[in-house]
């Protein structure tokens, strides 16, 4: 029996090779960008959680829309 590949944090890449997994890593990235952007932009920090949540959703929707459009384009070109 082959032992599973050990993951040593920082020395080896995280073992996520499946195409079904890695796109989910875009969510924390979008949230982080939204948080910092709105922390800079908003006049008071009270507004930040709500504003950042809103813009994070828009970023993710935009990326999903871009992915869908590109997928449709690729499928169209393949025919």
């Amino acid at each position: 029996m082959t032992p599973p590949l050990a993951y040593t944090p920082f020395l080896e890449p995280i073992p996520i090779w499946s195409n079904a997994v890695w796109p989910w890593l875009l969510i924390p990235l979008a949230v982080a960008v939204s948080l910092v952007y709105k922390s800079i932009k908003c006049a008071t920090m009270r507004q930040v959680p709500r504003e950042a949540a809103g813009i994070a959703v828009w970023i993710l929707l935009g990326m999903a829309a871009a992915a869908a459009a590109l997928a449709a384009l690729v499928h169209g070109l393949e025919r």
Binding site: L11, P13, L25, A32, V36, S39, V48
Partner: protein, 211 residues
């Protein structure tokens, strides 16, 4: 015949101005929620502190909520990039794939220095710095994350070195994991650049215009 006199209170004298009503008790806000700079510092100092510690520029201005939000987010994003792609997502200019200095040989070729070599060949970062940095452009963005990137660079050089038994201490990541690791660390640096510019601007004389 009696004339109508204006109805006045017997104790009220119009010649004496009424005392102003007492001021309402002012609310005291904690500095944590303050948005206006409570201290003044030169913009250059604020920018330097913001690079040294992400969010530090806002902390210097007394804007603790903003400092903690920005600082923690940037550091977590950078560390997450290293966890996703491994420390070797930081490609340090001037050092090669085996953790040795890159030097320019007599033919003008860039090669990696071998340990124990005594031949005096110029280091690529002194001989052709722009070409070398252009070969590793993501490092510019990663560098903006501050000293955390310098520590990661040192770790990357160490992890690139060959073990006595053969092979590098840590392998370079490939494909999506490498791309995401580079993206996370570079975006952390770019977000810190935004924070550096914003905190320096808030420290400056035009701070009121950023509303």
């Amino acid at each position: 015949m009696k004339t109508a006199e204006p109805a006045t209170h017997p104790w009220k004298d119009d010649r004496i101005p009424e005392p102003l009503p007492p001021l309402p008790e002012r609310l005291q806000y904690l500095a944590l929620m303050s948005d206006a700079p409570s201290r003044t510092f030169p913009s250059a100092l604020v920018a330097l502190v913001a690079w040294l510690l992400p969010g530090g520029g806002y902390a210097l201005l007394g804007q603790w909520a903003r400092a903690l939000t920005v600082g923690i987010t940037i550091i977590v994003l950078f560390v997450a990039g290293l966890l996703i792609g491994g420390v070797r997502v930081i490609e340090v200019p001037g050092w090669g794939d085996h953790g040795q200095k890159l030097v320019v040989d007599a033919q003008g070729q860039v090669t990696e220095e071998h340990p124990g070599e005594e031949e005096d060949r110029p280091w690529v970062l002194t001989a052709a710095p722009l070409t070398e940095v252009r070969n590793k452009p993501w490092y510019i963005a990663q560098f903006l994350a501050g000293p955390i990137n310098i520590a990661a660079s040192a770790a990357s050089i160490w992890a690139s070195r060959d073990r006595p038994t053969g092979g590098a201490i840590a392998a370079r990541s490939h494909a999506r994991t490498n791309e995401l690791g580079v993206l996370y660390t570079a975006v952390a640096g770019m977000l810190n650049l935004l924070a550096i510019i914003d905190s320096a601007h808030r420290a400056g004389p035009h701070a009121a215009e950023c509303k």
